[in-house]
């Protein structure tokens, strides 16, 4: 009774496979945050104390000095993620300007692709020492 349908099965398959579209990931920094940061730094940068520092309202020491900005770009959790320099700049700006309160970031210059490209090339050999340098630079502001 359904014999006439047999011939249409291959056709149905080819239609279905033509209709299947590979997933298109959202091209947003919110998505990049979810994929690359949120697993440890938690939703909206809340952090998991004492092991994972918060990102929300916790980055002030790193935003206003060259050593601090270099640290944010070269810290392995940022440097080693699989997105372009332009998208890293967007992601940093998202974390700094969207997740934190506006008072935290008053007068802070946004990160640019060029700034990310400059610092992202090389790995830190000693991350805690780099962090200490950034904190020192902030203290002496």
């Amino acid at each position: 009774m359904f014999a006439h349908l047999k011939n249409s099965i291959p056709v149905l398959f080819s239609v279905l496979s033509a209709v299947y579209i590979a997933p298109v990931w959202p091209n947003t920094s919110a998505f990049d945050y979810r994929m690359n940061c949120e697993g440890c730094h938690a939703v909206a940068g809340a952090g998991v104390e004492p092991h994972v520092p918060a990102l929300k309202n916790n980055l002030a020491p790193f935003l206003r000095t060259p050593a601090g900005r270099e640290y944010l770009i070269r810290v392995p959790g940022v440097r080693q993620i699989s997105i372009s320099n332009a998208k890293v700049a967007d992601l940093l700006n998202y974390v700094v300007f969207t997740l934190s309160d506006i008072e935290e970031t008053q007068g802070v210059r946004p990160f640019s692709e060029a700034e990310v490209a400059t610092y992202r090339q090389r790995a830190f050999l000693d991350v805690p020492a780099a962090r200490a340098r950034a904190m020192d630079a902030y203290e002496s502001l």
């Binding site: 392995p76 440097r79 080693q80 699989s82 830190f124 050999l125 991350v127």
Partner: protein, 381 residues
């Protein structure tokens, strides 16, 4: 069958046996005395089996004989076996309410022949927990310092002095993971940007040097698996697509040799790939690398293998293909005069044992105690 039936069956059988037995046989019964036996005359085919369960079992692979077992807390297996003395180490996590409460991490020191706990050394309560992997703890080559990889998820390595029995320091290794010991007191770590970091300790366990190679693989296009195999002072790693990299220390510098391919162009088209929980094993004297292979598409690097391919590490050429009886998650080699290849099945319920030399199947081991086995360590290093 219900209890009533068992009872009735026994009643009839027991009456029958009792009437038939001469009374003298009962009088000769001698109760056994519990004794403490020692593990004696160890064989190179004695192998520790463990993983995500909390028990670790010692089996004689050749005779399929159960030898011993110990409990390693609520941690995945992190075993370190010294080459020289009669003790061995296990990095273990304990919590006051088993899976909750205050956490303590220790290096437990056990006797190799009685498994008695000789000592324990407290270390920061942050040792790695996750998928079973051979590289979460190791000893420096001089047996002196235990290297315990931590992940909180911040990455660091705890250094414990096994001679003075004390925790020395925690070295930050952010961005680089696991420990692969080599020459003297050096160890490598694999880094997320496709490079290798090499740290070196001085004679007192303090950090002496820290270096990092250039990126040698691309984590986006063909990542290197973190499951390595050591041969001599060199470490071998495979990429998802079957490129083999050798990490060696030459004149004090870490060097990565240009990779060679496990698979021919034809085999690549047939989608032959390395994969599994422990996909690489080295036979030291034979200079051979055994690789667990399967056919699969992208991102199948954890898929069970159907064949073990054997390569000569001198010529980097394949000398044998062993067709495995069951899909296999982990490979292991014993290193004695009659070496065996162990193939742990995908579901972890059987270990097929092959003659490493010929690849011929020998026997199967089906009862070895651990619920989630994944890793093997030779009892004798």
């Amino acid at each position: 069958m219900n209890h009533f039936e068992i009872g009735r069956g026994c009643l009839l059988t027991c009456i029958a046996i009792t009437t038939l037995l001469p009374t003298g046989a009962v009088a000769e019964f001698k109760p056994e005395r519990p004794t403490l036996s020692k593990l004696e005359n160890p064989s190179p085919n004695w192998v520790w089996i463990g993983g995500a369960g909390s028990s670790v079992t010692l089996m004689d692979i050749e005779s399929d004989r159960y030898l011993a077992q110990f409990n390693n807390g609520v941690s995945t297996l992190k075993l370190a076996i010294p080459k020289r003395n009669n003790e061995f180490y296990s990095v273990e996590t304990y919590m006051t309410r088993m899976y909750r409460g205050a956490r303590t991490d220790v290096v437990t020191v056990r006797s190799k022949d009685t498994l008695a706990v000789i000592d324990e050394i407290a270390m920061p309560a942050k040792s790695y927990e996750g998928m079973s992997i051979l590289h979460a703890a190791a000893l420096t080559d001089d047996d002196r310092f235990l290297l315990g990889f931590n992940m909180t998820p911040g990455q660091s390595v705890s250094i414990v002095d096994m001679h003075d029995r004390r925790f020395i320091e925690e070295l930050d290794t952010t961005g680089c993971a696991l420990v692969y010991p080599t020459l003297q007191r050096r160890f490598h770590l694999l880094c997320g940007d496709g490079s290798v970091a090499t740290l070196q300790l001085d004679a007192s366990g303090q950090l002496l040097t820290r270096a990092r190679t250039a990126s040698f693989f691309n984590p986006d296009t063909d990542p290197v698996m973190e499951k390595g195999a050591r041969h001599g002072d060199d470490w071998y790693f495979t990429s998802f697509n079957g490129l083999i990299y050798k990490v060696a220390v030459v004149d004090g510098e870490t060097q990565i040799t240009s990779p060679w391919a496990l698979v021919s162009a034809d085999e690549l088209n047939l989608q032959w790939k390395p994969g599994g929980m422990v996909p690489l094993a080295v036979h030291d004297r034979d200079n051979s690398l055994y690789v667990l292979m399967h056919r699969g598409g992208a991102d199948t690097h954890k898929q069970a293998g159907t064949q073990a391919w054997v390569f000569d590490l001198g010529s980097n050429s394949r000398k044998k293909v062993i067709r495995l009886k069951h899909p296999t998650q982990s490979l292991h080699l014993t290193q004695g005069k009659t070496p065996y290849l162990l193939a742990l099945s995908e579901e972890g319920e059987r270990i097929d044992v092959y003659h490493a030399g010929t690849g011929e199947w020998s026997h199967v081991i089906e009862s070895f105690g651990d619920m989630y086995p994944a890793l093997f360590h030779n009892y004798i290093r």
